[in-house]
Symmetry: C2
Subunit: 465 residues, 2 copies
């Protein structure tokens, strides 16, 4: 196997230019899943991914759902090979605000960065660049490694950035076809540019979109001001009261069941040498704002949050308009940690909003997602096999870390397929995911592609459990 892996790695090195072309072709497709104007683009991206799989020896197809399609590919591998399911998503976040991009978001470019060349485009890191790494590793094994040495299923989703409404139904309908020994999910980050990481804790999320309705129409603030309810005043008061002076969320029951990290875990985190200043500098900040008495790592890995993601109401144009608006809207989301029940949190928020409802007003509330936090078992032969592969490429073991973001599919794989996930990704904190000028380092891409090739070898060496 080692000879084959060396051949595969050499092939990956020598075919970098054509890999970049394939990645750029995918990045050029504005597959924004939250915006129905881009439905055709989302489908085009799915079709291109399916073609890449077919070219790599997979039986692959674009599979319909009631929303955006899934791309599924299978390769059998040798007898008794372990069955690995690879997951990624080919949809991307909306690119706005467009005026803050240095170049158009869907015209990928290479530019010089701190760690060498960077690929700049919406989706470069989240998640097209990441999914292309395992697709290219599988392609190389197929082309020059004597065939893919594992039984591989690839599942690529087109709704990750819009709440994954079709994912669970699709997994349930196709569970027998998809059920693997273990999943590899590539949508997370490295510890730093030279240290790989496996993410074992992920925060969950509840996302609500609330509109407070007051007067039947917009009013003149002179004629009516002082005597009528102003939905913007009231919304600000309600949202502004969701945190107390110590940065804790004031919603009754919000912290019920929260599992604090063990002392061992906290010690491990303290030993990681996390550079909080550098992390904050990525956000243009010199200090951290958050829950009192918690370190920055705890704040992003093991503490729940409530962030307002958008407020819209009244006049937002040039100059002034003396209006009391008929309604005001907010989008806000809570990041959840192990032990919190997302449905209970959503119910608690709705109860809180109902109790705070101002006289003369009504709420309309829409949910955009509700999923639990994830804790992946750290004592597993699959995780150890991944460590062997990663160590071959990086000459050091991966560190086990938390992640502040949500990857709901990991929960679905556990619940529906009964399979654990290895979260092996190659993003960096400064990738500006979801922001203008999103980028992915070419060095991360190269190392990640080689890593997937090596992990394929070490998984194959395990055989079936």
């Amino acid at each position: 196997m080692s000879t084959s892996l060396d051949t595969v790695l050499a092939h990956l090195d020598s075919t970098h230019e054509s890999q970049m072309q394939r990645l750029f072709d995918l990045l050029r497709i504005p597959s924004v899943s939250t915006d129905s104007d881009h439905d055709a683009d989302v489908l085009t991206a799915a079709e291109l991914c399916a073609r890449y799989l077919t070219e790599s020896g997979f039986k692959a197809a674009v599979r319909e759902t009631t929303g955006h399609p899934m791309v599924v590919g299978h390769v059998d591998g040798p007898p008794n090979a372990p069955h690995i399911l690879y997951y990624g998503h080919y949809d991307v976040q909306p690119p706005d605000p467009l005026e803050l991009w240095d170049a158009p978001p869907f015209e990928p470019v290479l530019r010089a960065g701190a760690n060498g060349e960077q690929i700049v485009a919406r989706g470069a890191a989240d998640d097209k660049g990441q999914l292309m790494m395992f697709l290219e590793a599988l392609r190389a094994w197929n082309d020059v490694g004597g065939g893919i040495p594992i039984r591989a299923t690839v599942l690529l989703e087109g709704e990750e950035e819009s709440g994954s409404p079709s994912l669970d139904p699709f997994l349930e309908a196709n569970a027998d076809e998809l059920r693997p020994d273990v999943c590899i999910v590539s949508d997370t980050g490295m510890w730093n540019p030279s240290t790989p990481a496996i993410t074992t804790m992920l925060r969950g999320m509840v996302y609500l979109d609330v509109t407070l309705h007051g007067p039947s129409h917009d009013l003149h603030s002179g004629m009516f001001g002082g005597a009528v309810v102003n939905p913007l005043n009231e919304l600000a008061k309600i949202l502004g009261g969701l945190h107390d002076a110590s940065g804790r969320v004031t919603i009754d029951g919000f912290y019920d069941g929260v599992q604090n990290p063990s002392d061992a875990q906290l010690t491990e985190w303290n030993n990681l040498g996390f550079d909080a200043s550098a992390f904050l500098a990525e956000a243009g900040l010199s200090s951290s704002t958050g829950e009192a008495g918690c370190s920055v790592l705890e704040r992003i890995w093991s503490r729940p949050t409530l962030d307002i993601n958008g407020i819209t109401g009244g006049y937002g144009g040039e100059g002034a308009k003396t209006v009391i608006p008929a309604q005001a809207n907010a989008k806000f989301s809570c990041r959840l940690v192990p032990g919190q029940d997302p449905a209970a949190i959503e119910a608690a928020i709705r109860r809180h909003l109902d109790q705070a409802l101002p006289e003369g007003c009504t709420w309309s509330i829409v949910s955009h997602g509700c999923n639990p936090a994830i804790q992946v078992p750290t004592a597993s032969p699959w995780l150890e096999a991944a460590q062997v592969g990663l160590e071959k490429i990086w000459n050091r073991r991966a560190v086990l870390v938390g992640c502040g973001g949500s990857i709901p599919v990991v929960g679905s794989f556990q619940t529906v397929l009964g399979a654990d996930s290895l979260l092996i990704g190659f993003g960096l904190d400064d990738d500006r995911v979801h922001s203008p000028n999103e980028k992915f380092d070419v060095a991360s891409y190269r190392g990640g592609t080689r890593s997937h090739a090596a992990v394929i070898a070490s998984m194959a060496a395990m055989g079936r459990p």
Copy 2:
């Protein structure tokens, strides 16, 4: 004089159709002064007003300013006639949200309403319909009354809805030309459809546009949430804290100098038979929200307010985006009452915002207006002359009322020209000024036009003071 007035009134009755045509021609011009796309329309409206004045015997011209032009017209009248300055504004509020209009805002239509026919268009009541009433009264005196029996100056502004930046400089530069014995400002309302009103109290205003800047760019709420400052969370907290539980503004010094209405004034207001339920019903509400312990009339006439007029920040599109925005903006305004110093209030707000500035953030603050409340003397021969004219038309004396809105020009006339103003207007509470489907009752228009004609007669009868 009485014979002439009767002739003038009969002429006004018989020329209603041509008056409507002239008003509709003015309403068709989208003279939105806050939107530079409409600069040419604002000029067109000014030119039409000047033409109307010239047709009525005035020496009239469109006069340049550094912003939108003024329209000024003069007629000398007989020797020793009192000099009356008429003020109105030919600019209008933006018509958005357009989708809530039943018909295009700049295509005026007549439709049936509660008090008979209504003129529906942006500017129908505020203020094109109002200024056309005194223009038509002056035209009728010129055409059939034996000439205009007063010395009249007409001043029409094109920036009232955008903070009147050119008004004070223009008044200062032309004070000798413009200085009257008294001003008549027609931009207010009647007490009810059958009772005229003279407004003797007007609230002032401070309008601020504030942006809270935090992270250098939009951030992913999973990667950073809980550890970094969120400008939307912070802005909501700051704005939400601007009122206490009793509805009072919490800014230090906000109520300094506030003059409470006298007991006599409160008694007069109580005797007006104000129908709070009907007033609230115009806003689609069944209860009043405001400062504890104050009546609805006090809340809109004699108490200061703080209303948020717009908030913009983060993602406002379809679906969800898990973003922590780099900045958040709010527009808000305070209505001021006699005794409050607008500059001191603005300074107090800025101090409050500075003290509330969250760590890691900066403010940028723009002022869109700062003017004091107005109290017009109620014991004046001019007011009595106006009462005589109004009583002739309505068979009852006008009630003396307050007004929640701001008409900064009244303060400028006092300060720059040393002249008091009579606020005689014919709007109604249900006119939807600044809102979709703004309207003006034809009955109000007819009565208002006749009223101006009668007030001209009673002013002329006074002679010079």
